[in-house]
Symmetry: C2
Subunit: 281 residues, 2 copies
């Protein structure tokens, strides 16, 4: 029975692997943890069943063959390796696609690794598939709700991100009514919010973002959510508040809300709304 | 005869008013210079026929009524007033639209002023209409040409900026093949290029932008070029080179090339191509 076989949780950077592990335990789903040297955080390293070097493909395949998992679940970033990790990895790399992926940065690396896993007969599932309880649900979180200004910002953001969807560019924007303040690029949501914050400080901005400014964060059309699942957390809320946002709109069912309780508490405390939008990417 | 009546050149910040004045002189077209206190550069202040405070609408209208110009030509930025200029202006402001425009920043201010001028029976012409010799022409400038990587970047940038055109967002992007590195927001092209440069320095970028990275700068569909004419100059070339760009693509006939000789020389020296694309906004 497939369900009796464990999942192989490949634990990248950040708190996500820990949250996924907790979710799998709640669901009573067996799993093993494969740590990635230089990425996996202490909490998960402590419970790792095995550890590999980033891009040690042969080693990883040997371990997975031994585990014969029901599916492999990558969780947590490896897309932006530390210089140290890159050096560790470089000599181990044989695969041309991987090298190109490494040079390409962002999700190309993971994409190349995933196809390699699938070529070797492994099923690869995303966090959204094995731990759906970690995803934002539709509707309002917390106590605050969008006003009409914010609603216009959300509509503009949805339309613009939809228009951008065919292109390999960010999946988030800061929008004020019909005006787009910032579009996310490879720098990520946090840096985009710092940019929006700086713009709010320009003299003509009178030291604050326009009323009803919203962070809109949605999945891209046809995006492989196993590789790149949009995520927000308490830090996102703090950065959005610092940027003068009235609230945050995410794609319900397609966006991780890391530490949902702390995230909602942070939004309530900062006076920000947090809403999940019905989306169908 | 309309042609015997002078143009009223409203000289904002930067070198553009000077370049427009020179172009009008070459064309033998009579004009008067209206300086804007706090914005007009020394060279133009020296030859100003009159000077007004930013947003001194009554004073401006009095002067223009007296001059009875063939058309009013705004040249040079006033969209991002210095704090000092804002303070000077604030007390002089009566008009609600202007105040909103001022608060809105960017082109809203100028748009509000322009409609006010038109309401008062003045024709407003753009720099592209009175000094077309300042605009980039189609085809290649300088000695370098785009390779196939850069050609793909240009095609991606054109398509993406086209998709963004209906939205109030930047009109430029940094593109590497099919990957969008940065989309311009209110921060402007120079700051976007600094961002792209920083991204090129991330470890996964191996300290440089991907091969064939291009700055693509195009007018928006239906953009009022009298208010917001895309522009590049020597500094744009330097910033693009620092960001690792292989070249720059602009919308021919819709983009100012400030100091074309120095701009092309800078591109040649930096090994960047500079091409004008056929566009129809």
């Amino acid at each position: 029975m497939a369900s009796s076989r464990p999942l192989a949780l490949v634990a990248g950077a950040g708190r996500l692997p820990e949250l996924v592990a907790a979710s799998l335990e709640r669901a009573g789903r067996p799993f093993r943890v494969l740590a990635v040297r230089g990425f996996t955080e202490r909490a998960m390293r402590a419970r790792a069943d095995a550890t590999v070097d980033l891009l040690d493909i042969p080693g990883t395949l040997r371990i997975l063959k031994d585990w014969a998992p029901d599916a492999v679940v990558p969780a947590g970033g490896v897309a932006r390796p530390s210089p140290a990790a890159l050096l560790n990895a470089a000599h181990a790399v044989k695969n041309r696609d991987i090298l190109r992926g490494l040079a390409g940065g962002d999700d190309r690396l993971l994409r190349a690794v995933l196809s390699l896993l699938e070529e070797n007969g492994h099923r690869v599932l995303g966090v959204h598939e094995v731990a759906p309880d970690l995803l934002g649900r539709p509707g309002r979180f917390g106590t605050h709700a969008p006003d009409s200004d914010a609603a216009l910002s959300i509509a503009t953001g949805r339309a613009m991100l939809g228009a951008l969807s065919p292109f390999d560019v960010g999946q988030a924007a800061v929008v004020a009514a019909e005006r787009v303040i910032a579009v996310e690029g490879p720098e990520g949501t946090d840096r985009m919010l710092l940019r929006a914050r700086a713009l709010g400080r320009k003299p003509f901005g009178y030291g604050s973002a326009p009323k009803g400014t919203v962070l809109v964060k949605l999945p891209k059309l046809g995006q492989d959510l196993r590789i790149d699942l949009p995520a927000i957390g308490p830090r996102t809320v703090q950065r959005a508040a610092a940027a003068g946002c009235a609230g945050i709109a995410i794609g319900a069912g397609y966006t991780l809300v890391i530490d949902v309780d702390r995230t909602v508490a942070a939004a309530d405390a900062a006076g920000l709304f947090l809403v999940g939008l019905e989306v169908a990417p």
